[in-house]
Amino acid sequence: MKNIFKYTCAILAVGLVSCEPEFENSVNDPGFYSSGNADFSRYVAVGNSLTAGYSDGALFITGQKYSYPNLMAEKFAFVGGGEFTQPLMNDNMGGMLLGGTQILENRLILEVGANGNPGPVRLQGTPSTDAAQKLSGTFQNMGVPGAKSFHLVAPGYGNPAGIAAGMANPYFARFASSDNATVIGDASAQQPTFFSLWIGNNDILSYATSGGVGVDQTGNMNPSSYGSNDITDPNVFAAVYSQQVDALVGSGAKGVLFNLPEVTSVPYFTTVPTKVIPLDAGTAAQLNAQFAVYNNQILPALAAASVITQQEAALRKINFEAGQNFPIMTDDDLTNLTQMLMGPPFNLPQQTAGLLGQLRQVNSDDLIVLPASSILGSTPDPGNPMGIVGVTIPLADKWVLSRKEQDRVRIATASYNATIRAIAGAKGLAFVDVNQAMTRVATDGLPYDGGVLTAQFVTGGTFSLDGVHPTPRGYAFITNLAIDAINHTYEATIPRVNVGDYPTITLHNN
């Protein structure tokens, strides 16, 4: 009996000195997770808005907190990862000032409008982040919203003096080390032991989101002559991308490269249906009567005269029917007939000729961009109730990404992706096939512990209210893709994030 007493006392004594319960194998013990053959002590992330944590059409603190580099860095901390700082915005408004004048819009919120329908609107209020206010220190998240591939190597891209003229980037201006600094120079100066690079999205995205109003610059090797909505030449991309990877690898850093998703499967292009105009039989007949001469006389005549092809003539035919209809649009890839229609034998008045000059009806191969939803069916001239956008007023080219335009985007994307994959392979870097993952999101959806992530606007969980950038949950999903790729390539065992733990869109009424 005495022994039992002693035994009990001994246990009590042991218990007293170690009050906090301790796991046999704690996740916080060194060695619980392995860094494999990579070194995560200095991780630097380079890229664009996706790397910065841009969401809901803006950059703001909570979005940055959920940026995939920050989520990755939190997990790298288990395997020797060091400090990871981000050039945080000043607030959760998302907009930006330049010398007190607002130059970038606030974030989007899902607001219930007066009609009772929820829709994305800009958060009201004045942001407090000013592009002219320089942050001190170096930042490991070098994601610069809006940056194209060649911007990362462009000196002066962070020069505050160039912002107003559109020569510099307000986000980079906040933390560029000098007026002449380049993003890639500032990144490699930190001598990263590990890096991530996700760049090239904007080289095609702005062309696509602007409905293809830019120019496909394939063949033009001088990016300083490009407009902001142009497609970057694939050889230019390949050259600057390779240069960037070389700079980041430096004297042997490991890293992870992300390829580019097909942008046309994001809600920005898939939410507004092409058959968006509802008509009754009477109105449809009335409209068809107005286009009868165009359909039945003008187009066949021009085709017969080989001014346009039979194919184009067929494409240009306008036909409405009872039910849902395709809107009419102006397509700058069509032959411009305005001058010809003003001349003999048509002798149309200038206004009608201008209307018909590059007119066609949207078809199921087209994609109508998200912002078009606010103008489709509207009557811009209150004095003319018959002037309805999409019915009697054609949608401008910028609202529609035509099949031809989509093809240009697709070809460029495929070419950039071939470059990224080849370089990842050649350098032995981890590679994230974002394109494949986003294709799955858009088709079957991706299961997670709380449901399925889809590309559905607002409700799908993947994409934020701008229809292009992921939600925090979407970024968490991308984080896991990257961690999986890193673990695979470098034989590491870095823990993953739990996708369902991250938020999606924000409900708010201004």
């Binding site: 319960p21 916080n28 919120i109």
Partner: protein, 415 residues
């Protein structure tokens, strides 16, 4: 007496769950030191709780016992898949008891007990991995029990009495893993109910087979505490008509399960040996349901599906000198929680519990009773599988490691 005053000055703050579920086995320091055995032990007015019938055989006319325990409980949680880890920062719990018995005549003894047999205080850091299940809980039930004991003869007595229970609960968690306000703070709900009361009863018998061999049975009834006028406050709710959440009255019920205890004790020279068996009828705890008065807010249903569970206790006592009595004990406490229902608000698996203590006689009338309990829970991989988002079950998994240190002190007065 100074100590008694000190004890009563301490507010009846919440106690922490020791024992399966939210049962707190800290109802007497003499018994606690012996593995919380006492159904067949007669040595103080602690019998008001353990076995009212035993009061008949107390040597003194007036017996008073009071005590307080300091509950230091720690929960560690981790998930190896994500690396999430957390240590609870629960405040110290201080369960109390006060018992008195008075022998009115040769066959009748009357008594009164105030004790806190159920309670739980758990607090996790804000926005931890399981915040959609619980951020914090503080629940407590105070039992007030007038008692009578009838001595039928030297061999057998019976006792019992009504129990008036007063309960309170405060519970806070995130509404889900998705909803947050403009600043990114998760939306939370805080449920509060206090002054919830109901009646129950206790009945017991004690049989002395010989002068040294005692047997006891105690049955304490279930008491269902149903809050009719609780409140729910919502925090960090986005300003939007798309969410139905607005402060509301609530209804919720929590059972304090029935408990059957059997005990044997044997006196040999200066030694006493005691064995108790408790059966707790936890299967009444099916679900923690919160009904909101506001019909727009969906009711919260949280499956618990507890099972009945047993506790096996053993204790020894040694009367060393006139001044000192030493005690030690052990008990094995079976969890009422089924696999897959392991909710972080009461993350209790089976536990091994070690106790020790002593009484010091000060003069003829006073004893100071000290006890210490160490609760050891094995590391366990468990999950709670009954949390749903949009109809999908979202299991919350991880490894839990729990322990508890409870120093306890009390005072006995005999006249």
């Amino acid at each position: 007496m100074k100590k008694v005053l000190l004890f009563s000055a301490l507010a009846l703050t919440a106690a922490l769950s020791y024992g399966g579920g939210y049962r707190v086995s800290l109802q007497g320091q003499k018994a606690l030191a012996m593995g919380h055995t006492g159904v067949a032990v007669v040595n103080s007015s602690e019998s008001v709780f353990f076995n009212p019938a035993g009061l008949s055989y107390l040597d003194n006319k007036l017996n008073v016992s009071a005590g307080v325990s300091g509950v230091f409980s720690n929960i560690a949680f981790q998930n190896a898949e994500t690396g999430a880890s957390v240590n609870s920062d629960s405040p110290m719990g201080t369960p109390l008891y006060l018992y008195a018995s008075y022998q009115a005549n040769d066959w009748l003894t009357v008594g009164l007990g105030v004790y806190t047999p159920y309670g739980s205080t758990v607090k996790y850091p804000e926005e931890w991995a399981g915040s959609h299940l619980v951020n914090s809980i503080a629940l407590q039930a105070i039992y007030i029990q007038p008692t009578v004991a009838f001595k039928i003869n030297e061999m057998i007595s019976v006792g019992g009495g009504p129990i008036y229970a007063i309960g309170s609960v405060n519970f806070e968690r995130s509404l889900n893993r998705t909803l947050a306000d403009l600043e990114g703070n998760r939306s939370t709900v805080e449920v509060d109910a206090s002054g919830v009361s109901n009646w129950g009863w206790v009945a017991s018998t004690m049989i002395n087979f010989t002068e040294d061999l005692h047997f006891g049975v105690t049955y304490r009834s279930e008491i269902l505490l149903e809050a009719e006028d609780g409140t729910a406050k919502f925090h960090n709710i986005p300003n939007s008509s798309l969410t139905p959440f607005a402060d509301s009255d609530i209804k919720a019920g929590l059972p304090m399960p029935a408990e059957l205890s059997l005990g044997v004790s044997y006196d040999y020279d200066k030694w006493t040996f005691a064995f108790d068996f408790n059966r707790s009828f936890w299967n009444v705890y099916k679900s923690l349901d919160i009904e909101f008065a506001n019909p727009a807010i969906p009711d919260s249903r949280n499956a618990r599906n507890y099972k009945n569970s047993s506790i096996y206790r053993v204790g020894i006592q040694y009367d060393a000198t006139e001044m000192f009595t030493f005690r030690a004990g052990y008990y094995f406490d079976e969890t009422p929680v089924r696999p897959g229902y392991f909710a972080p608000e009461t993350p209790r698996n089976d536990s091994n519990n070690f106790t020790a203590g002593l009484s010091v006689n000060i003069g003829e009338h006073f004893q100071i009773d000290a006890a210490f309990l160490y609760s050891h829970f094995k590391e366990v991989n468990e999950s709670y599988d009954y949390y749903f988002e949009d109809g999908n079950a979202v299991p919350f998994r991880g490894t839990y490691k729990t322990n508890g240190f409870i120093p306890a002190i009390g005072l006995t007065y005999k006249l």
